[in-house]
Structures are given as structure tokens and as C-alpha cells.
């Protein structure tokens, strides 16, 4: 495990930060959020051009083969700027799932993803599965032409705009059997697929998907038949680290905004920051952020080599910690801003919402604590 970043990594982080400072200020970000689709095709094209979409993707799949630490650096910068582009959905979840499930198909599909021409989404969770990755009841039934999919996928991140959906469905087993779930590639405009699209509380986009007799070809099945759960688990473990890095970025930005506010806002004839009780609270926020940052990068650095329970337990540790720390930092930031913190106009509330929604995604603190215990 190495705590120093390489020159390349520093350069990557710097160039992303510069780009975002220039093109993705809070107001620009809000305009993007409010616009058609809730993200920007122009920005996405630039991400592709700058090589960022391919950065964490393997070289043999058209990417640059970056490590999980590289990915974390990117996400940390995204977190600071509250990026709402479909990066998690397409790259962290989508591309990674395809790559892990079926390297041959990945070589065929991912180049278009890396070039920004194809968006992906992972449609795995269901209305009653909550955070239980093995609980899948969407059914895949074999027929002459291939497979027919029926079921309901819940809160699919950027499921509204994906060109290709990766849908998990049962080809065997039942309820929460780990075996018997298979992945399928489904075109975003497939007949029998109904999308209920919505913005999410934190300004991203999502959709619930109803699959009602969706016919896909035999070649739509992706990866080992019945073996999807282990793949999705590995993908989500890494996504937990990516999201944690995003949270670390959001926390750092939140601490900076709050500190600035304490310095400038005066009450009782002095800056709020002169009240010792508020100083201590700001220091708590900073401290949470520091520890979260350290744990996040430590975990990122072992993600590419660790496997099985070791990997999962590490992912759960960081996700639980980020959920807990992000909640403290976010809630305190609002409190220390007083009424201003409650307004939609201030960036701090948007960081707070993102931090809380990161906890809600892929298993909250309670879930990951339990998983950490179970895997111990």
C-alpha cells in the first residue's frame, strides 16, 4: 500500500480540478441539472476527448487502464464540483460490469462507451431487494429467439438515458439464492420496457424500469449463466470506494465552505468563527474528513488486488465510515450556516444532499456495518 501519489496521478487530479473549476462552477452545474436530461452531452463529449471516460477502463477495452486509486482521484474531484454526469452509471457500474462479466464482449462494447457514444446503466436493485444483491426476482425465460424478461428494477441510476441497460434476471434459483442470476444486455428502447424517469434528491437522474415481456436475443446474455451475483458484488464493492471518494471530495468542499462562512458571517459583533464552540464543531468536521480521506485511499489501493471477503469487507468498512462521517459533516455544515444553510441557493445544501444520498446508494451505514461484521 502506498500513500504517495505518482506524478501522473497528481497531474490527472490537477487537470480534472482545473477543468471543473473552469467549466463546472456551481451555477453552471445547476443549469446542467435543470436542463434536458439533467446532464450535459457537451461535457460528456469533452470527458471522452480528455480521456477521462476511459481512464479507469482496461487498455484492452479501449481505456487507459487506470487503477482504483486513479478512479478515486477522479471521483474526489467530481465530488468537490458536484458533477451530475452519468459517470458512475456508465463507467463505474456499467463498463466495470461488462468488463468483469465478459472480457470478449467488453472489447466489442466498451470502446464506444469510452468514446462517449454509448451510455450504460446497471439495472439490478428491485423494489424489495433494498441492499441485498442476491435478492432478484426479475425472471428471464428462455424461448426460441432467446430470452424474455419480466420484472421491476428500482432506482436505476441514469436508467432514463442509458443506450444499453445491463439487467439482472433469474435463470434459476429463487428469492435470494446467490446462484441463478444472469446479466442481460437490453437496448434502452426495447419493446416492453417502460421507464419512469425522475430527478433524484441530489440532482442526479434515475428511473424505475418495468420489463413486461421484453424479448432479447440469445446473445443478450452477458457473462456466465447464473453467475451474476458475484460479478455485481465485485462491481458494487469498487463502486462503494468510488462513491466514498466522491463523498470525500464533497466533504472537503463542505468543510471549506463552512469555514469560509464562519469567517465572514458576524453576529454579536464578531465573526461566528470566534465562538469556540463553533470552532470545535468545524474542527470535528475537518477531522472526520481527514480520516475518511485516509481510509478511502487506503481501501482504493487494495481494491485492485484484494478478492472475495477481504475486498468486500474493506469496501463495507469505507462505505459505512463515509455514510457516518458524511452525515455528521453535512448536518453540521447546515447547522453552522443557520438559515442560510437551509436555502437551495447555497451550495452547501447540495453537498449535504449528495452526501446523504451517497449513504443511501449501494448500502447505507447500517447495511455495511452488518456486512463488515458478517464477513469478519
Amino acid at each position: 500500500m502506498s500513500f504517495t501519489s505518482t506524478d501522473d496521478q497528481r497531474q490527472l487530479a490537477d487537470s480534472i480540478a482545473r477543468y471543473l473549476a473552469d467549466k463546472y462552477g456551481f451555477e453552471q452545474r445547476n443549469r446542467i441539472c435543470a436542463g434536458e436530461g439533467g446532464w450535459s452531452r457537451a461535457v460528456w463529449a469533452e470527458f471522452a476527448e480528455l480521456g477521462w471516460l476511459g481512464f479507469p477502463v482496461a487498455e484492452e477495452h479501449g481505456g487507459l487502464g487506470g487503477s482504483t486509486v486513479d478512479l478515486a482521484l477522479m471521483l474526489e474531484a467530481f465530488g468537490k464540483a458536484l458533477v451530475v454526469e452519468p459517470f458512475i452509471a456508465t463507467i463505474v457500474l456499467g463498463a466495470e460490469t461488462v468488463a468483469r462479466a465478459d472480457p470478449a464482449r467488453a472489447a466489442e462494447i466498451l470502446p464506444s462507451v469510452v468514446e462517449g457514444r454509448r451510455l450504460l446503466a446497471l439495472a439490478h436493485g428491485e423494489p424489495t431487494s433494498r441492499y441485498d444483491l442476491a435478492r432478484v426476482s426479475t425472471m428471464a425465460t428462455e424461448n426460441d429467439e432467446g430470452w424474455v424478461l419480466d420484472g421491476h428494477k428500482a432506482v436505476v441510476l441514469h436508467g432514463d438515458c442509458a443506450d444499453t441497460l445491463i439487467v439482472s434476471a433469474r435463470t434459476g434459483g429463487r428469492d435470494d439464492d446467490r446462484n441463478g442470476v444472469t446479466l442481460f444486455l437490453v437496448p434502452g428502447d426495447a419493446a416492453g420496457l417502460t421507464k419512469r424517469a425522475y430527478p433524484t434528491i441530489d440532482g442526479l437522474r434515475g428511473a424505475d424500469l418495468e420489463l413486461d415481456g421484453v424479448q432479447v436475443g440469445r446473445d443478450a446474455a452477458l457473462g456466465p449463466k447464473g453467475g451474476a451475483v458475484a460479478i455485481v458484488e465485485a462491481v458494487i464493492d469498487r463502486a462503494c470506494v468510488a462513491l466514498s471518494a466522491e463523498a470525500v471530495g464533497a466533504m472537503a468542499a463542505t468543510v471549506a465552505l463552512t469555514t469560509e462562512y464562519l469567517k465572514t458571517r458576524t453576529q454579536f459583533g464578531k465573526p461566528l468563527g470566534s465562538f469556540q464552540v463553533l470552532q470545535h464543531r468545524a474542527v470535528e468536521m475537518l477531522s472526520e474528513t481527514q480520516f475518511a480521506h485516509a481510509l478511502c485511499y487506503r481501501t482504493a489501493s487494495l481494491m485492485d488486488t484484494a478478492t472475495g471477503a477481504e475486498r468486500s469487507r474493506a469496501a463495507s468498512a469505507v462505505k459505512a465510515e463515509i455514510g457516518r462521517a458524511g452525515k455528521i459533516v453535512g448536518e453540521e455544515a447546515i447547522q453552522l450556516h443557520g438559515g442560510m444553510g437551509m436555502t437551495d441557493e447555497m451550495a452547501v445544501g447540495h453537498y449535504f444532499k449528495r452526501l446523504r444520498l451517497i449513504d443511501v446508494a449501494f448500502g447505507n451505514t447500517g447495511h455495511h456495518l452488518k456486512r463488515f461484521i458478517d464477513l469478519g
Partner: protein
């Protein structure tokens, strides 16, 4: 563990329950139960029902239309109303400005304003805070200059809850810069239809529009709308703050919320089992329930002291802090209860403006995350929890 009520109190509780059963409009109770926004019309409709029954103003003296209830009866009433899903009575008129008018207003003011507050003909808002004056309210700068028999008022009020509906605003204004800041403050009642007033909504982080900025530009306010003496506004405002002792704890509302939470926690599944059976979740739920019990215990003790005529000290500050922590804790567990379905933002589903599609996720889902975010306000307003602790440190500990 229920509070032991005397036979009279129990009979009273039955009366209240029967009244609520008969008179609380089902559509309103349903909205409250689902966490939907309650419209102005709904509030007024319910408040008028209470007015007709004579139960709108339990905190008023009987001669003005109060109920003559004991503190315990008031508590029972609040609790039953909350549990039945009655919307809370908007406090600005009945609870806040009316006691000040009664205590410090002249007869003309009492005759003019109190009946219309009692009958909910007038909607009031509270114009205290300003952009530069929140916790340090006494630094307020909205200026009122005497010009013949009018004050000319200019400045900006902010965070003004539900000012968009208001007919009247009670406000603190600066009439003098001499002496201590508190001494130059005057209490004015301002007609919201006066020329020079503009109300601008402030959107909060949950996407709702319940607070406003109120701009005042050379607004002419008749001197007859001043309460008491010029320069004594601070004293009157402090009287108001001390007046409401226990309702700030919102025990009834939190009990209703806890009941709702348990219902949801029995329905929502994790690993195929209701989350109420998850040891970690159950433990946190139990902790809040216990907190609520201790909150109620201090409320009851305070009510008892009040009914014995003993002075109430620092309890309101303790109750405000604990009460809001519990409220926030409940909204946190509610949001957590629906797992990933906390994410979709579907304000149409709880704003009640004619949307009749099914929401994604459970019916009770869309309101919960916004409720959590909205409720962060509770530790900020009404004297922030930090300010309450400052008060306690000084008043109780003598630090």
C-alpha cells in the same frame, strides 16, 4: 408506558377523541398522515372548526375565548390532535402575537385583532429575523421613522414562514439607535397589503417554499398599530418567548411520527425481513422512543409545576433542544426506512396539487427524504440549539 390520567382527565381525553373523530375532515387527516403538504385552505378550514368548538386557543384566558383547561388538559388535547392527524394550528396568530396583544395592547387593538385571530380570518406571520440579524436579533436594522401619525418602515425581514399567505405581520423594528440595541426596538403590527411590501419566496433544500424574504420600502404603518410603548418591543418579544413553555417540545407530534415510523418499519423489508426486526435499526428506534419518554416526563413535570403556580425556569430551553433532536432523529429513521427509494425526488406526489399518478416506490415514500432535509431547520429556528445551550450555561449553571 402511558401516563396515568385521573378519571376526569381520561373523560376529557375521550371527549377530545370523539370530537376529532367527528369533526376532523378525513381528507386533511389523510394528508397529514401521508406527510403531504397542508394548504392554506386546509389549515383555515380546520382552524375554523376548532374556533366554532371554542378549542382554537387553549392558551388564552377564558374572557378572550380560551378554554380554561389545566396544563394537563392542554397537553392531552395537543397529543390527541397530533395522533388523529390534525394539522398543527399555525402558531403566529393564536400562540405568538395574541398573548402579546392581550398583555401589552390597548383595548382597541384587542377588539380589533383578537376576534379575527380566534376565527382565523387573519393569517399572521412573524417578521423578526433579518439577513444580518438572526441569533443576534437585537442588532436588527429595519428602520421605523415617525412621520405624523405614521411610522415609515424600511428594511428587510427574512426567513418569514408562510408570509406568502399572511394578512398581517408582527414585527420588531428599530426606532432608535441610542443606548443599548435592545432599547431602540419597537413592536409593530403591519398590514401585509400596505404599499411598499413585497414578499419573495425562498426555496429550501427540500424544494419547498415555506419561507420568504419580506422587503419593506417606505411602508406607512399607522401609529395605532404599535404595541405598547416605543422602544419597549424587546421586552414584549421576550415575554412572547417565555410564554410558550412546553408546546415547543412537540411531544404529540413526535408520538404520531413514531407510530408512523413503526408502521413503515414493519412494512419495509431488508433481507426478506421487516426492518423493525433488524437489531441495529430496532436499537436506534428504541433509543428514540426512550428519548421521547424522557422528553414527555420533563414536559409533564413542567406542566405540573405550572399548574401549582410555580415559576418555570430553564425548561423551555431543555425541551427545545431535546424535542428537536427527537424530531430530527425520527425523520432520519424514516428516510432510512425506505432504503434506495429515498432517492427519487417526486414533489408532485406530496404537494397535493392534483397529481394523481402513483409514485415510484411506496406511497409513503416521496415525502420522507424531503421531510428529513426540511427538518434540519428545527435546530436552527426558534432560537438555535446553540443559543439555547448558551442560555442554559448562563441561566442554570451560572457560567
Amino acid at each position: 408506558m402511558d401516563v396515568v390520567l385521573s378519571p376526569e382527565e381520561e373523560a376529557f381525553r375521550q371527549d377530545v377523541m370523539a370530537f376529532l373523530k367527528e369533526k376532523l375532515p378525513a381528507d386533511i387527516a389523510e394528508k397529514t398522515g401521508n406527510g403531504f403538504r397542508i394548504s392554506k385552505d386546509d389549515h383555515v378550514r380546520w382552524q375554523k372548526i376548532l374556533h366554532e368548538k371554542g378549542w382554537i386557543a387553549p392558551n388564552w384566558p377564558v374572557e378572550h375565548g380560551g378554554t380554561g383547561w389545566t396544563p394537563m388538559q392542554k397537553h392531552i388535547f395537543d397529543e390527541e390532535c397530533a395522533l388523529a392527524g390534525a394539522p398543527m394550528v399555525i402558531p403566529f396568530g393564536v400562540t405568538m402575537v395574541a398573548p402579546v396583544i392581550m398583555k401589552f395592547g390597548n383595548q382597541t387593538q384587542k377588539d380589533r385583532f383578537l376576534p379575527r385571530i380566534h376565527s382565523s380570518e387573519d393569517w399572521w406571520c412573524q417578521g423578526y429575523s433579518e439577513p444580518g440579524s438572526g441569533s443576534d436579533l437585537a442588532s436588527l436594522r429595519t428602520k421605523a421613522v415617525l412621520d405624523g401619525d405614521h411610522y415609515v418602515v424600511s428594511g428587510q425581514k427574512t426567513w418569514t414562514t408562510l408570509a406568502q399567505h399572511a394578512d398581517w405581520m408582527f414585527t420588531l423594528v428599530r426606532t432608535s439607535d441610542a443606548g443599548k440595541p435592545q432599547e431602540g426596538i419597537t413592536f409593530l403590527l403591519i398590514d401585509m397589503k400596505s404599499p411598499g411590501i413585497s414578499v419573495h419566496p425562498i426555496t429550501t433544500i427540500d424544494g419547498s417554499a415555506e419561507i420568504n424574504s419580506v422587503f419593506l420600502e417606505d411602508v406607512r404603518v399607522p401609529v395605532e398599530n404599535r404595541i405598547g410603548e416605543e422602544g419597549k418591543g424587546w421586552t414584549y418579544a421576550k415575554y412572547l418567548l417565555g410564554h410558550e413553555r412546553t408546546s415547543i417540545a412537540a411531544v404529540g407530534r413526535s408520538k404520531a411520527q413514531l407510530r408512523k415510523l413503526k408502521g413503515i418499519a414493519r412494512t419495509e423489508l431488508a433481507g426478506g425481513k421487516p426492518i423493525i426486526e433488524d437489531p441495529d435499526y430496532a436499537r436506534r428506534l428504541a433509543q428514540i422512543e426512550i428519548d421521547l419518554l424522557s422528553l414527555e416526563s420533563l414536559v409533564l413535570r413542567t406542566l405540573y409545576a405550572e399548574s401549582e403556580g410555580r415559576p418555570v425556569g430553564a425548561e423551555p430551553s431543555f425541551l427545545k433542544i431535546k424535542g428537536t433532536q427527537i424530531q430530527q432523529g425520527l425523520t432520519d429513521l424514516l428516510m432510512e426506512a425506505i432504503g434506495p427509494y429515498a432517492a427519487p425526488f417526486q414533489p408532485e406526489a406530496f404537494r397535493d396539487d392534483g397529481w394523481n399518478e402513483e409514485p415510484v416506490g411506496p406511497d409513503y415514500g416521496p415525502a420522507l427524504a424531503p421531510l428529513y432535509f426540511n427538518w434540519r431547520k428545527a435546530s436552527i429556528y426558534g432560537g438555535s440549539n446553540e443559543i439555547q445551550k448558551n442560555i442554559l450555561a448562563k441561566m442554570v449553571l451560572g457560567l
